[in-house]
Symmetry: C2
């Protein structure tokens, strides 16, 4: 497989542990500027901190919405607040419980409403579908809903569901999604060869906590 | 140690997986009525379903707020909506990131504001402090904040942080908290002997997914 030049520019440099500290966010932002990552991805509580630290850079500031379980009933207001605090991208978990309960109408309406809200606010929106918990048929169906609503990215994983991105799932998503809808692979990406393999089968962005290990390996 | 009579009455019968289905919530509610558990604890998305199913019973309906990472910036509105949907108890994750960043003033203010809100709405409020991520000093300090705000329960764990309730942590919490503040132990409780041991060192409520296995063992 061909190597990927400028791998760093594909990476959302991410820290999303419950016990994340201000110091860790500061380090994350310094590393993002040093390596030229696409974005930092931080908890809502630290968005303003990241905005301050990255002022004057071109690095995007992503935060998470309804994360990591997806059944928050306040995603819309969370998105509005992310915008107010200066985020430029939101990574939103779909309502996996509704999907698994067969309530596809709810899932479709939520994706559509939140995409329209994000786009009205000028935000890039990524929907995390948590591939590890879905059947292939469910992955295909939710990708079609995402395409119908013209989301920016479909993202594989939160990293909290016991399984992350796989080559097979990214291939499947790429086969269903139109070229205009991008893919973010995330969860369990630990080295350059896996990162490059994910990009080679269609991932446009990678969510990584071990970003430096990846780009330096 | 003495056995605990009526163990079921101590248990919040809980389902909080991302892929929880409506059918699982229905089963949970049926089991709660059959065994006489203290409460069911369900995702926000399923509160109305549980309210319908438990109509006419005395079983409490708990849901989770800012769960499981604690850094949601919308806990107050989540509590208000839980009330509107018919919940009687809210299990709220503290802002662990703020605590770990040394922002104790934020942690104290949040606990106080949310407790006042819950009590104004007639809700029982439990604060999840995620003991597995805290030092003993941090556990003591956050228990004192909870006591100062007269919360109803301090709860050990979300079950998502790689460690649940321990005898040592419940003992420590009991030694700091006044008798008026109750303790809910949760995370990793799998059998009757551990459940009884937690109660014997001071737990007043247990959060369990394996509740039937516990009461029937």
């Amino acid at each position: 497989m061909p190597p990927v030049s400028n791998l760093a520019s594909y990476i959302d440099h991410t820290v999303l542990k419950p016990a994340t500290t201000k110091e860790q966010v500061q380090q994350l932002c310094e590393e993002a500027m040093k390596y030229g990552f696409a974005a930092v991805c931080v908890p809502p509580y630290f968005v303003e901190e990241a905005v301050d630290l990255l002022k004057g850079s071109t690095i995007n500031i992503a935060t998470v919405i309804g994360f990591p379980l997806g059944y928050s009933t306040h995603k819309l207001v969370e998105i509005e607040q992310a915008k107010e605090q200066g985020a430029t991208e939101v990574d939103v978990v779909i309502n996996i419980a509704a999907l698994k309960s067969g309530n596809w109408e709810f899932v479709a309406k939520e994706i559509d409403l939140l995409t329209n809200t994000a786009h009205r606010l000028g935000l890039v929106i990524k929907f995390i579908i948590e591939t590890a918990l879905l059947t292939n048929e469910e992955i295909e169906k939710v990708c079609i809903l995402c395409a119908n609503s013209a989301v920016d990215y479909v993202k594989t994983s939160t990293g909290f569901a016991g399984g992350g991105a796989t080559i097979e799932h990214v291939k499947l998503m790429r086969s269903v999604l139109p070229a205009t809808i991008k893919i973010k692979a995330s969860g369990g990406i630990k080295d350059r060869s896996f990162a490059e393999a994910l990009i080679n089968v269609g991932a446009n962005r990678l969510g990584c906590s071990r970003s430096i290990q990846i780009v330096e390996s």
